[in-house]
């Protein structure tokens, strides 16, 4: 080839190759950095194992040397001389194992997901920013007490995360950063507050105002109030009642009434909310968390026992990270933290143990505002005077910094102001107001008794939690802690209030002494499973409406009332109990309806099959599918008055409303509207539901015992990677559990028990736990998902809590030394 031609070809090839390597093609990252075998995606292998020894020298921000010893379960045991250094090191070890998770969670919590996922994430970011969560975090930081224990922990943690980042080479970047083609961002203190705001969004939002309105628009206000009541019709409260439980409150459900035209407008808000990506009413709202504690007199070994399993989205890496912090003479706490939040959120010390379930209190209210300009309001009217609307411009950017969209977010003195279904509604929400949740967690780790722990946790306001604690002295206690608003008038927060008068505003917050609390109850145990905290005979104060049914609480109580020699293994087995109280309640009604002389043959056949079922939702079970189909049919047929034009229910009353209705065999709600001239009763609907369920299940899954009805062929647990990448997820897992069992599994199978823990508060506190994932965030590490098999099998790992580094002995796997500047 002539020289000129050779050089010309080389120039073209060089230009093209550099172009391919340096410029991203479509959704792919830039190929040059991506394929670079030293610093690209391939180098992910270099961080799959913890180095046996790693020294971080000259680490700024540290008071003195910190020694971190990893045990055989890859749990870091942090030995520091000061608490500052312990939280600093917690930041280091979390960043070491979960850096990508920190980044992705922070992007979601601060409303910047579009910078990772592009325009597809715009609805989520708009929701986050539209609710004012980033603004609230900024305001909290601006007004923070910089000397508080919580803030000092946040700063130390931040410095720890950044210390890890500062020494990180490109080849040590987690896999996700190579895929996303971006370097990790530096951590900032505000990120911890974004995260807490995000947790509040997950746990402390509800749309009961809208659901109730949607029901009222169909069947009138009186019926809607009864379908979404302030008190659960089936009571097994958290605070033990003065009357025997479980119990039905009794009373007939008022019949469906005439549509409430006034609610129609608001009812359409649901449609608008769904369209805008806002949280829609959750038909599976009986999911949740469990915790229970048993007093020494009811346990086999005479020591208090505590169990907890918060149910959250199942993700890889897990939402939880296990750690142990030791500062001799000051702090010795083990358990789990959420990456981004300094502190052990659920765990134990040498004296006590604690865990949470979500209270689900109503801590957000909506106000219909009168604005000066319906298209672009700049003022809103309160008590006859116009007040200025605060405006904040939010820009959503893509990965390259280009602006994808711009929103103007408006705020009244109550909170974010948004137009929903043609109406301007502002929202006051406790999650948007300052609180010292991290400070409470940090302080509470120092306490030595259950009562002191409850006292230390008083500043923990959002999200409201049922805080269960037990100590070595044998005290068990629970309190529903949150910021519970005092509202004017009837005190309720389940309808949209008039925003044009300040008389609608909250009057303050209930004092802690007024919170639902129980300490050392006569029954010898305490349990919460997101049910209504107090029986109406104990307290009639408004906390919320439409509580999750008490099925799980009933099941826990059944187990604990049955024995006075509870062991750790009893507690562990309960956490994966495949049988639930819901099936036990409904099944006899189905069977009796099918046993009537005039029952249909299909219903009889369905009942024959269901009679073979013990109510257990095990992976190899072949009857639960029929029961669930019958429940779906029953729900649809009973609440047909609530169906919208598309046939779907605009609002679905809780399962306990349906359970209570079963007692009233001639209620007007049983009548099927599609059969004019015929008035159906309960048994006719149960019969029809059974028959339809059998037809549907047979059509879809084949003959009863041909294998198609196996539960693990129909419902599986699915643990998705945070970026929803299937190859990095663990899908189709054969897990035990069903709707309303203690280890719930239903629907898409993407949420469930995220951390199972049992603690024995004996002379030496001992604990067992697991979570569905692993300590490492590296998808190619053995520690990415090593706990999943045990989680599926219902086993727990024994947790090590060495007092000194040498206590780990042969269990030690790796050491990380962090030294301050010389």
């Amino acid at each position: 080839m002539p020289r000129f031609a050779r050089v010309s070809v080389a120039v073209v090839v060089l230009a093209l190759t550099i172009g391919v390597a340096a410029v991203p093609i479509g959704p792919l990252p830039r190929l040059g950095p991506f394929l670079d075998p030293y610093g690209g995606a391939w180098s992910t292998t270099t961080t799959t194992r913890l180095k046996p020894f790693l020294l971080l020298r000259d680490t700024p921000g540290l008071d003195s040397s910190v020694s971190v010893h990893y045990d055989a379960r890859a749990v870091p045991h942090i030995f520091a001389r000061t608490e500052h250094d312990a939280y600093f090191a917690l930041g280091v070890v979390v960043a070491r194992d979960r850096l990508a998770q920190l980044e992705v969670q922070n992007m979601a919590a601060s409303g910047r997901l579009t910078e990772l996922a592009g325009a597809a994430a715009l609805p989520l970011d708009r929701e986050t920013r539209g609710l004012g969560l980033p603004r609230a975090a900024e305001r909290a930081v601006a007004g923070v007490d910089t000397a508080s224990a919580g803030w000092r922990a946040v700063r130390a943690y931040t410095d720890g995360v950044n210390a890890w980042l500062d020494q990180l080479r490109t080849d040590e970047h987690p896999f996700e950063f190579h895929l996303l083609d971006r370097p990790p961002e530096r951590w900032a203190p505000i990120n911890s507050l974004y995260l807490l705001g995000r947790m509040s969004y997950t746990l402390a939002t509800d749309t009961h105002e809208f659901e109730r309105a949607a029901a009222a628009a169909r069947v009138g206000r009186a019926a809607a109030d009864a379908l979404f009541p302030m008190h659960s019709p089936l009571q097994e409260p958290i605070v033990p009642a003065r009357v025997p439980t479980p119990r039905l409150l009794g009373g007939r459900l008022p019949p469906p009434g005439a549509p409430d035209d006034g609610a129609l407008l608001l009812a359409t808000a649901i449609t608008a909310m769904r369209r805008d990506g806002l949280p829609a009413p959750d038909p599976d709202r009986d999911r949740g968390s469990n915790n229970w504690a048993v007093a020494p007199r009811r346990t086999a070994h005479g020591a208090a026992l505590l169990a907890g399993d918060p149910h959250l989205d199942l993700t890889l890496p897990s939402i939880w990270y296990e750690a142990h912090l030791v500062v001799p003479g000051r702090l010795d706490v083990a358990g789990v933290t959420i990456p981004g939040a300094p502190g052990i959120l659920i765990g134990f010390t040498r004296d006590l143990a604690w865990t949470f379930t979500n209270t689900g209190a109503d801590v957000a209210d909506y106000y219909a505002e009168t604005v000066d300009d319906d298209a672009h309001p700049s003022h809103y009217r309160v008590d006859g005077a116009w007040r200025p609307v605060e405006r904040r411009v939010e820009r959503y950017r893509d990965a390259h910094g280009a602006v994808l969209a711009t929103d103007t977010i408006r705020f009244t003195h109550r909170g974010p102001l948004r137009k929903l279904a043609g109406r301007w509604l502002s929202m006051r929400w406790t999650a948007l107001e300052p609180s010292d949740d991290i400070g409470a967690v940090v302080d509470a780790a120092h306490t030595r008794t259950a009562r002191d722990w409850l006292h230390a946790m008083e500043p923990f306001l959002v999200p409201a939690q049922n805080m269960l604690v037990a100590d070595r002295a044998g005290t068990i206690a629970i309190r529903s802690t949150g910021h519970f608003p005092i509202r004017p008038g009837d005190g309720r927060g389940d309808y949209v209030r008039d925003g044009s008068t300040s008389a609608s505003d909250w009057l303050g917050f209930r004092p802690v002494a007024d919170y639902p609390t129980a300490i050392d109850p006569a029954q010898g145990f305490l349990a919460s499973a997101n049910q209504e905290p107090e029986d109406p005979t104990t307290s009639s104060a408004y906390l919320n409406t439409d509580w999750p049914p008490a099925w799980r609480a009933m099941r826990i109580a059944t187990h604990l009332r049955a024995t006075t020699s509870v062991t750790v293994d009893t507690m562990r087995a309960m956490q994966t109990d495949p049988v639930g109280a819901r099936a036990a309640w409904f099944l006899p009604y189905f069977l009796r309806a099918a046993a009537r002389p005039d029952a249909s043959s299909r219903a009889r056949e369905a009942a024959r099959l269901l009679a073979q079922w013990d109510g257990g939702y095990r992976p190899d079970d072949q009857r639960a599918v029929l029961f669930e189909a019958a429940m779906t049919e029953l729900t649809r047929r009973t609440w047909d008055e609530l169906a919208g034009p598309d046939g779907r229910l605009v609002a679905e009353p809780g399962g306990d409303i349906l359970a209570a209705l079963l007692v009233d065999s001639t209620s007007a709600w049983w009548d099927d509207r599609s059969t004019p001239g015929v008035v159906e009763g309960r048994d006719a609907i149960l019969d029809a539901s059974l028959a339809a369920a059998l037809d549907r299940v047979t059509t879809r899954y084949g003959a009863p015992d041909a294998g198609g009805w196996r539960r693990d062929r129909i419902v599986t647990a699915n643990i998705f990677h945070l970026l929803q990448i299937p190859q990095l997820s663990r899908l189709g897992l054969h897990a035990s559990g069903g709707p309303s069992t203690l280890s719930p599994l239903s629907g898409a199978g993407t949420d469930g028990p995220s951390w199972r823990m049992v603690v024995e508060l004996g002379p030496t506190v001992r604990a067992w736990a697991t979570y569905p994932g692993g300590q490492s965030g590296n998808p190619f590490s053995d520690r990415y998902d090593d706990r999943v098999p045990g989680w599926l099998a219902g086993t727990l790992d024994s947790i090590r809590t060495p007092r000194t580094p040498s206590d780990l002995g042969a269990d030690e796997r790796a050491i990380l030394e962090i030294d301050p500047p010389r």
Binding site: V7, V11, P33, P37, Y38, T46
Partner: protein
């Protein structure tokens, strides 16, 4: 023997260039190599491929490279082997073309300086 040593040194240079300058290190070093070697694209290409292959072997020594390959392939919807091939073809193309261009640039510079000397005479 001398050629083999020269190739080995060049390979190590590509390895270090990648370590300290990332993938850009390959064309930059190849440009310099080409200028010095008179545009020896073949040696540059081969040395760059061997260097990146060595780095891949290092990755494999640390952990499950095969699993990474399979997963990556599935994520980007490309046969996994193609990803490995691309990882070796990329430095080959960068190094070969850059070495030829480097050689040409050096020739041009030499020609320009000798022309200047002729004019000065």
């Amino acid at each position: 023997m001398r050629a083999a040593l020269r190739f080995l040194l060049l390979t190590i240079a590509f390895l270090l260039a990648t370590r300290f300058a990332g993938w850009w290190g390959v064309p930059l070093l190849a440009l310099a190599w080409g200028a010095r070697s008179g545009g020896d694209g073949w040696s540059a290409s081969a040395a760059a491929v061997v260097a990146w292959a060595a780095l891949l072997l290092r990755d494999a020594a640390f952990g499950p490279l095969g699993e990474v390959m399979l997963t990556l392939g599935a994520i980007v919807h490309v046969p996994p082997v193609l990803l490995v091939a691309a990882t070796l073809v990329l430095p080959a193309l960068l190094a070969a073309s850059a070495a030829v261009v480097g050689g040409a640039l050096a020739d041009r510079r030499r020609e320009a300086s000798s022309a200047t000397r002729v004019r000065e005479r």
